[in-house]
């Protein structure tokens, strides 16, 4: 079984490599491989300043959200858990929007990111408080709905009270989630936080495995759930907050990826974390390459493309779950 997990991870790594090549080539301006080595080529800045940051961010955000989703599902023992579906991303977005509304987000990038991460942390803590470990599917989804509603109301309030149309446009554009026109500065800013978050989450693997048997059994097997909870809350908050801060809301990654990979790794939640990181990177990068290929006047926003993909997926998942529960 470990052999199979290794094979899956190798396969995902190969996919990532192929997608990286595609991501550096594809866009409004086609950049063939021949231009890559020639620094004098006029298209070189496109690669370095536009496509490279975009590619790295897609990998990092995808890996982070995939890991966060897998860990939240493992911890709650609920296949519907994910930072997007449970309102963590929406709360992070609210934090960011508030700084945009107050005008601080544009001037100091760390203000926006810190606000996003702080709100993501608050969201995770609220989720755990509202639903707790091992509550049923319904409780968790309801807790998520509460957070989504709160965050949505806050964002709507900020929009309706926005001082000028320019702020409204900025907020709306940013909310839709995109990787276009990101710079290496944003990469430098987001990467350490997402990386640290993923590492923290990876430390929960043993506890997530034991939690398959429930909270009491996990404790009887020497798992300290307070440590697990702390690692998870901080890890998910860092990943989601930093991701949302640089790309806006990109949902469904943490929902789709672990679900697809789970049967392939034998369903053990700890074994699902690393493959979900790789799978998330694949999904977001593939989606980002796709939105660049779609012929349209303005590029389709990545967040919208993911929602278009994730919505029906969520629907089918819910149907199959209902059949299983019935």
């Amino acid at each position: 079984m470990t052999g199979r997990t290794v094979a899956i991870q190798l396969g995902l790594l190969i996919l990532i490599a192929a997608l990286c090549v595609a991501s550096l080539m594809v866009g409004p301006v086609h950049v063939p491989l021949s231009a890559w080595t020639d620094h004098a080529d006029a298209r070189w800045p496109i690669i370095l300043e536009l496509r490279l940051p975009r590619t790295i961010l897609a990998l990092a955000v995808g890996a982070g959200l995939g890991t966060a989703g897998a860990a939240m599902q493992g911890y709650t023992r609920n296949p519907l858990a994910d930072p997007g579906a449970l309102g963590v991303s929406a709360m992070a977005a609210l934090g960011a929007v508030l700084t945009l509304y107050l005008g601080a987000g544009g001037t100091q990038p760390w203000v926006l990111s810190t606000a996003a991460m702080a709100m993501a942390m608050l969201a995770v803590i609220l989720l755990l408080a509202l639903a707790g470990v091992g509550s049923g599917v319904t409780t968790f989804v309801l807790a998520g709905v509460i957070l989504q509603t709160l965050a949505g109301a806050g964002v709507a309030l900020a929009l309706s009270l926005a001082p000028n149309p320019w702020a409204v446009t900025e907020i709306v554009n940013w909310l839709m989630g995109s990787l276009a026109d990101r710079s290496l500065d944003e990469v430098r800013f987001a990467l350490p936080f997402i990386g640290a978050g993923v590492v923290l989450i990876l430390f929960t693997g043993r506890a997530l495995d034991a939690l398959t048997l429930g909270e009491t059994s996990a404790r009887s097997l020497s798992v300290d759930l307070r440590v697990t909870r702390a690692l998870l809350a901080v890890g998910v908050a860092l990943v989601t907050g930093a991701s949302v801060a640089v790309t806006g809301v990109i949902g469904f990654v943490g929902l789709i990826v672990p679900h697809l990979l789970r049967p392939l790794v034998g369903s053990r939640p700890g074994a699902l974390l690393l493959p979900s990181a790789l799978g998330g990177a694949v999904l977001v990068l593939a989606a980002d390459v796709t939105v660049r290929i779609i012929p349209s006047g303005n590029e389709v926003k990545l967040g919208i493309a993911m929602a278009a993909l994730g919505g029906p997926f969520f629907f089918v998942l819910l149907l199959s779950l209902r059949r299983k529960l019935a």
Partner: protein, 260 residues
């Protein structure tokens, strides 16, 4: 100290929940090598007592001692290696296979690297001991109730514990599989482990256990061999039922006459 050097004991432990006493100064000692059944009416405090004995619940007063050391002062890994706990109607969240499930019993021994050679051999030994090898590769959610019960016991056994504490291990099993599970638990005790169970069914308790402890309103109402403990007078006092108790071919025959 009154605690035996290799035993599990509770000394005057009390637990109350929002002002309601659940356990009142319960003192009890267990030795390895036998099965003890804790019985009693609903709400008598059976599960709470078992959770305290397993070191999973801190009593408001008193202390639980494992092999001479206060159980709450043991490192969790140390405690978990010596004592396995099977919770009531355990849920297995994901469609893991039986071997993976049993491997979870090695959690007190593993770090970030997962199972090592020793862990794998302990898992195989637990599978063999419980007769679950044949379906070790099947997902847990496809097992029958009886197979599942054995797989869960194998999980507890994989940690090679000296003590096995199980809360209502027979819930949801048909009578045939109840007898199978009890036979397995008794065999595990005969290997030298201490087995402590909570049970609902008095006849089954009498059949498996050399010793029966009756809890009533958070206190021990009786403690001893089943034939001495489970008398008509006790059933009337503790359960409020009229019953005829007679020695039977399988232990005790308890014929309920009616509610008192």
């Amino acid at each position: 100290m009154t605690a035996a050097p290799t035993g599990l004991s509770a000394e005057r432990i009390s637990v109350s929940l929002s002002g309601q006493p659940i356990l009142s100064e319960v003192s009890v000692e267990f030795a390895r090598g036998g099965v003890t059944a804790i019985v009693g009416p609903n709400g008598a405090g059976k599960s709470t007592l078992l959770a305290c004995l397993a070191g999973l619940r801190r009593p408001d007063g008193g202390a639980v001692t494992l092999d001479g050391a206060a159980i709450l002062t043991l490192r969790p890994r140390e405690r978990a290696r010596r004592l396995a706990f099977l919770e009531q109607t355990p849920q297995v969240a994901w469609a893991i296979d039986v071997r993976t499930l049993v491997g979870l019993g090695r959690t007190p021994f593993t770090g970030a690297r997962g199972l090592g050679v020793n862990d794998h051999s302990a898992v195989e030994a637990a599978l063999i001991r419980t007769g679950t090898t044949a379906f070790a590769d099947r997902p847990v959610n496809t097992l029958s109730g009886g197979e599942r019960a054995r797989a869960l016991i194998a999980r507890a056994l994989a940690g090679e514990p000296d003590w096995l504490l199980a809360d209502e291990p027979l819930t949801g099993l048909d009578i045939g599989h109840q007898l199978d599970t009890l036979a397995l638990l008794r065999a595990l005790a005969a290997d030298g482990r201490g087995v402590v169970l909570t049970l609902h069914d008095l006849a089954l308790a009498a059949r498996i256990a050399a010793r029966v402890i009756v809890l009533h309103e958070g206190r021990i109402a009786a403690d001893g061999p089943p034939s001495e403990v489970l008398t008509a007078a006790l059933l009337a006092r503790v359960y409020g039922v009229e019953a005829v108790v007679a020695p039977g071919p399988g232990g005790l025959a308890i014929d309920l006459v009616g509610r008192l």
